[in-house]
């Protein structure tokens, strides 16, 4: 019997990068993603497989080593796991709890944007108040960028992770690049 060869999903913007003195745009490292839906009764039980309490304050996130959880709604979180070795074990554990855990690793990709002009470049397409008071580091939210939906996640004062559907990422990349040309 022929050996099975697994197809690998390559990041769509692999090897591409934009940088000037004010802004840098690059492909985020590969990671697996889970769309997690759970009711308030299951939250305590989820603490064990995740290794931390899911954030319940609107628009906040939690990072613990290679696993991050982003609050998207009152019963919805996005899990991002950058350690490929723990992906299946985590899914198996989640399978035993009354929740919905859907692997969306191949649906999403992410772009990292950083630099001193990061708020201006993002505001070229996103209508949100991205000042540090309104959207401090750790904040995350589903929102709009131009015509597409994104999940915006602020990692540090001048660094954002933009989670986007893979087929929309070309639009996002082109739009960000266009906005970035007005900086630096």
């Amino acid at each position: 019997m022929a050996k099975i060869k697994m197809a690998l999903a390559r990041p769509p913007h692999e090897g591409r990068r934009f940088a000037n003195t004010a802004i840098s745009i690059e492909q985020a490292l590969p990671a697996s993603r889970v769309s997690l839906r759970a009711g308030s009764n299951e939250l305590a039980e989820l603490t064990k497989p995740l290794g931390f309490k899911l954030p319940t304050r609107p628009g906040t996130s939690k990072i613990k080593s290679s696993l991050s959880a982003l609050w998207l709604g009152p019963d919805e979180w996005l899990l991002i796991n950058s350690n490929p070795k723990t992906v299946s074990a985590l899914m198996e554990k989640l399978d035993t709890i009354k929740c919905s855990n859907v692997d969306i690793s191949h649906r999403n990709t992410a772009i990292i944007i950083s630099g001193k002009a990061v708020e201006d470049v993002l505001n070229a397409g996103c209508p949100r108040d991205l000042s540090l008071d309104a959207f401090p580091p750790g904040s995350c939210s589903r929102t709009l960028f131009g015509k597409i939906e994104i999940i915006l996640w602020r990692l540090t004062d001048d660094r954002f992770h933009i989670e986007v559907w893979r087929s929309y990422s070309e639009y996002l990349w082109a739009y960000l690049l266009d906005a970035a040309k007005d900086t630096g």
């Binding site: 609107p58 709604g73 009152p74 949100r128 589903r142 709009l144």
Partner: protein
């Protein structure tokens, strides 16, 4: 841009993240089979569509995804207040001066 307070996200968010979803506080009939066509028509199609203060359902579709209720003046497009689905209809007399008025 108009800002709308989402009761689930607990903050004001840009209008473009939201979608309107018609009149609020319409109870689904307990037994549709027992309804006459005229009663069903009234439940399903007929809306008040008032000029002025309306109780509406809205959805934070490009945010938390939740449906919630809003009291909006259709003349001024002003949101008098927003509240979670399932919560009681606020008294309109108290809205204009009370909590929630902007």
């Amino acid at each position: 841009m108009l800002l709308i307070h989402c009761p689930y996200c607990e903050e004001e968010r840009p209008e473009v993240e939201f979608a309107g979803a018609g009149e609020a506080h319409i109870d689904r009939p307990k037994d549709m089979n027992a309804m006459s066509d005229a009663e069903f028509e009234k439940f399903f199609f007929i809306r008040d569509n008032l000029k002025g203060v309306n109780y509406e359902r809205w959805r934070h579709i490009h945010g938390c995804g939740r449906f919630f209720n809003a009291v909006r003046d259709t003349v001024s497009d002003k949101f008098l207040t927003t509240y979670k689905s399932g919560e009681k209809k606020p008294d309109p007399a108290k809205l204009k001066t009370g909590k929630g008025a902007k």
